[in-house]
Symmetry: C2
Subunit: 351 residues, 2 copies
């Protein structure tokens, strides 16, 4: 998990500074000059890019009336469809389905029981069978594949899957399908003293496996839908935490601000999402005093990524729906809608 | 909440370093020389102090076989009886009891209903009445005084109480009754790249009100027993979070490692507690690979603070009990027991 990287900003600052000072040239300035390079090179100039840059300047320039002390600089990002691709299906749902063969190997009696039998049909090529899977079916498979093992075993299973699984369209690991413009925003915010958090409807333990490696966001800054654990002792007396089928936090809709309050205890200054499940987080963020930035990403680029709404006449979807009501609310409340097509020069780093 | 302070370590490092370099003298060293001052001046030399210093050196010296990258340096501290005084009664219980008159003013019918009537008797000087309060009674009063208001109102009520309430023995605000030797350990750890967390059986929202100001620990690094919130809208349409009587996390005993896994997602390298409620956190911490330090504070100083066990023949207590079984387990498992009497030169900063 990126052990050698420049994760601790304090360490980075010290070494960068030491190197800069070693050159000697900047000594009289007291601090090295800030390079005036564009922090968001993958963004086209426009309202969305301007909103981000203005917000960061407003909240971090010491003599700004909207200045916020570094300790209070919190920004929260939804993950699926906001930081990485969520179509045709959330990566975690693919994980859950693809764990079923191993589950059936351990418990052969499940092979003939729905919904596990249906999942096996889907995996064996009967893509139409996927239509027979209801949300309770997926939840049942989720509980069966994500509980009952130790926290360490779960992490290892997810890491192994991530190293092998590939997105069907780009034929690349899911972890490469992060949006470069959002990666730039995360880095820009952290470079400006912000703590960046993921606040996802997806599984907290699942996202924590890779968030540090692919986004530079450590486990303690990942909030997600969370199953609990049960503390007990292994046969050798060692204490273990076993993933348990008890829902601690349903981190969607109202669960997002509730989860933020529980896990962070401060209201974010900035929040970014892309679907109806993010509305309450954006409302709650925006309702605070001073400078606040709430943003929604609209997937309106069928050519380079996907186009779905149903807002603005885009095709409807059950995966990350952005309704017209949400779009209208964004306009009414002054949230910024990011157009993937118009605002993003580049989408992926591999382009 | 200490907005001007040096809370963000990165900021502190940069300015300290800039100032140091401005002197010019240390330029050739690349980095300023570490002052060889004692990081723990309030500690007497002994096994406990040595264990802390050795542990920090082992985990932070780059060529040490037990070196740990900065991102993984997590230390967790119980609060009541570990970081500040918990006798004769937990501060939060005093808060709950002292909120009852305001509650009765708002709902006069409660004045004649137990346990509220009993609490009023206690507050009116009938100290013996306190013996009639059971744990379910206290929980009932807790729910009545800590739920039903917005998160912001609760914070304001706690802050107001903390500014006025005084400990009965030292006649000082509770917030001044933190242990100086533990404050030194917190600072020493943070100065060595550790993230310091509070993991308390007390109320998460309660401790978050003052933890940043008195310990330098921000809200997002306070884990405690947590009631949930409910998201809704005020009459003016503004979103609000209301404290709700649903227990999200009982952060005692097994709840401590479970809470650590949920809120941090990493196993701590170091954990410190003082009572049976901390045993599982210490076990879980110690069971990890590499250098681990689990410590228990024994209150054996009746003269300068309090003496209670019942371990080692000290008087028994219901508030922060340290049983002989816990003491024996500590010896068996290699946890360090800190003797307040022998290991601490100074207890409070006002001494």
């Amino acid at each position: 998990m990126n052990k050698g990287g420049c994760i601790m900003k304090s360490t980075c600052s010290v070494f960068t500074l030491a190197r800069t000072f070693a050159l000697g040239a900047l000594l009289t300035l007291g601090l090295p000059a800030q390079a005036q390079t564009d922090p968001l090179p993958s963004w086209n100039d426009g309202a969305a890019k301007k909103a981000i840059v203005d917000f960061v300047k407003d909240t971090t320039t010491p003599d700004s009336p909207k200045f916020v002390p570094a300790a209070e600089r919190i920004a929260t990002f939804d993950q699926d469809g906001t930081l990485w691709v969520e179509h045709p299906m959330y990566s975690q749902v693919m994980y859950i389905l693809e764990r079923v063969p191993a589950l059936v190997k351990a418990k052969p009696e499940l092979a003939k029981v729905a919904p596990f039998s249906t999942v096996l049909q889907v995996l064996h090529g009967d893509r139409a069978a996927i239509a027979r899977l209801t949300l309770p079916d997926v939840e049942k498979v989720a509980v069966a594949t994500m509980t009952g093992m130790t926290v360490e075993t779960f992490k290892a299973e997810v890491a192994k899957w991530l190293a092998e699984a590939k997105d069907p369209r780009w034929k690349r690991p899911y972890t490469e399908l992060t949006y470069l413009p959002m990666q730039e925003v995360l880095k820009y915010l952290r470079g400006s003293g912000y703590k960046t958090y993921i606040v996802t409807g997806g599984g907290q333990d699942f996202v924590r496996v890779y968030a540090e490696q692919i986004y530079g966001i450590p486990p303690e800054q990942v909030i997600g839908s969370a199953l609990g654990t049960t503390y007990s002792y292994a046969k050798d007396g060692k204490p273990i935490l076993t993933k348990a089928p008890k829902l601690m936090l349903n981190d969607n809709n109202a669960g997002k601000p509730e989860g933020i309050n529980m896990m962070i205890g401060r209201r974010p200054l900035m929040a970014v999402g892309n679907s109806t499940g993010d509305q309450q987080m954006l409302e709650y963020t925006r309702a605070g005093d001073g400078a606040r930035l709430s943003m929604l990403l609209l997937h309106d680029d069928a050519k380079r990524e996907y186009a779905y709404g149903p807002a603005q006449g885009l095709p409807a979807t059950k995966v990350g729906a952005f309704t017209q009501a949400l779009y209208d609310e964004a306009k009414k409340q002054g949230w910024t809608v990011i157009s993937m097509k118009d605002d993003w020069k580049t989408i992926f780093s591999f382009e």
